[in-house]
């Protein structure tokens, strides 16, 4: 039995210790927002947060995730209102959309660690998230918009 804490909910899963976290999330817990892309940590479609870090769930065994806080795209915000989610909607970033939960989860780590990222910072953070549709310019633009929203919200509070 493997105990997983996903999006602040605890789950006892009757699965093998070496099951990739992505399998547990999608096939056991039915959290299908996180996508399978390459299976070897090369595309970024499967990024989730493990204690706040943007791990690739396709190569992360559930044994590593036990006792840690897992956050998926479904748990990034309460009402799909994370600044990144709002910015993504504002300028219609996705084309096919398949890679974008991974894109947003990676970008969320960037914005947590760097409130005012430059284009170079964005490239450094997002270079591992591949988009077959080539939405990179909109991804970059949306991250700048989200950073702006985040800063304004913080200045108000």
């Amino acid at each position: 039995m493997v105990k997983l804490n996903v999006n602040s909910k605890s789950h006892d899963c009757d699965i093998s210790n070496d099951m990739p976290l992505l399998w547990a999330l999608r096939d056991i817990l039915n959290l299908t927002g996180t996508k399978y892309g390459c299976g070897v940590a090369q595309c970024g479609a499967c990024v989730v947060h493990l204690d706040g870090e943007a791990v690739r769930s396709c190569v992360t065994k559930v044994s590593r995730a036990e006792g840690k806080k897992i956050t998926t795209i479904e748990g990034l915000s309460l009402n799909n209102d994370h600044p990144l989610q709002k910015a993504w909607q504002e300028i219609d970033v996705p084309q096919c959309g398949y890679c974008h939960s991974g894109q947003i989860m990676s970008a969320a780590v960037l914005l947590r660690e760097n409130k005012n990222p430059t284009d170079e910072d964005i490239d450094n953070a997002m270079a591992g998230n591949i988009c077959r549709c080539g939405t990179y310019p909109r991804v970059r633009k949306a991250i700048h918009i989200a950073a702006d929203m985040q800063r304004k919200a913080e200045n108000k509070s």
Binding site: G39, V40, A41, Q42, V47, E53, A54, V55, R56, V59, T60, K61, R64, M105, S106, A107, V109, L110, E113, N114, D121, N124, A125, M126, A127, G128, N129
Partner: protein
Amino acid sequence: MNNNRPSHYISPSKKNKKIAVLLVLSVIISVTAFGINSRYNAQNTYTAIPKSTVKKDSIASVKAFEKVYAVLMSPRCVNCHPIGDIPLQGDDSHVHKMFPKRGEDGKGLYAMKCANCHQSENTKGEHAPPGAENWHLPPANMKMVFEGRSAHDLAKQLIDTKQNGNKDMKKLLEHADDGLVLSGWKPAQGNSLPPMSHSEFKKAWTTWLENGAYAPAKK
């Protein structure tokens, strides 16, 4: 007074004065030279090798370093000691795809931290990430570059505590059994092993260090 002395004659009192001046001068020169030497040592040599306690055999040391160098320049070692801020990959040591950057602590940046993909062990499958505990590059303030280093320069660098992670002789000897060093002998699928066994490498490493850690001649 004898006025018939030869022109080169020096009276005993003058002779004593001259000797005294020469003595003072030699003391000044010695002190100055020692001071310069000490200053030179303080500024330029931070060697991990305690010269007084190590047996010195430059031939055995340099010969052992040939083996050490062959291992350190193999892809399993050099790939994480790049000259730039992006690690290398594969047996051809190409620049790591996705261009992950070193970061201040050597563990990557933002969503591109080493351990986001590299687990505590190799992930099975071709092109899957190799892994070991605490996978990382040397930090930004001490990059410990292997890539492109000559045998002479690398040997000098390895014993310079200002360039080797502040490792003294004891720590250098222990480093042969460091987890990340050992992981070189557990390559991921598709990657080759270093050119000799770990025990052979460790023996060469120890021989090199314990015989004075001599650097091969410049070529």
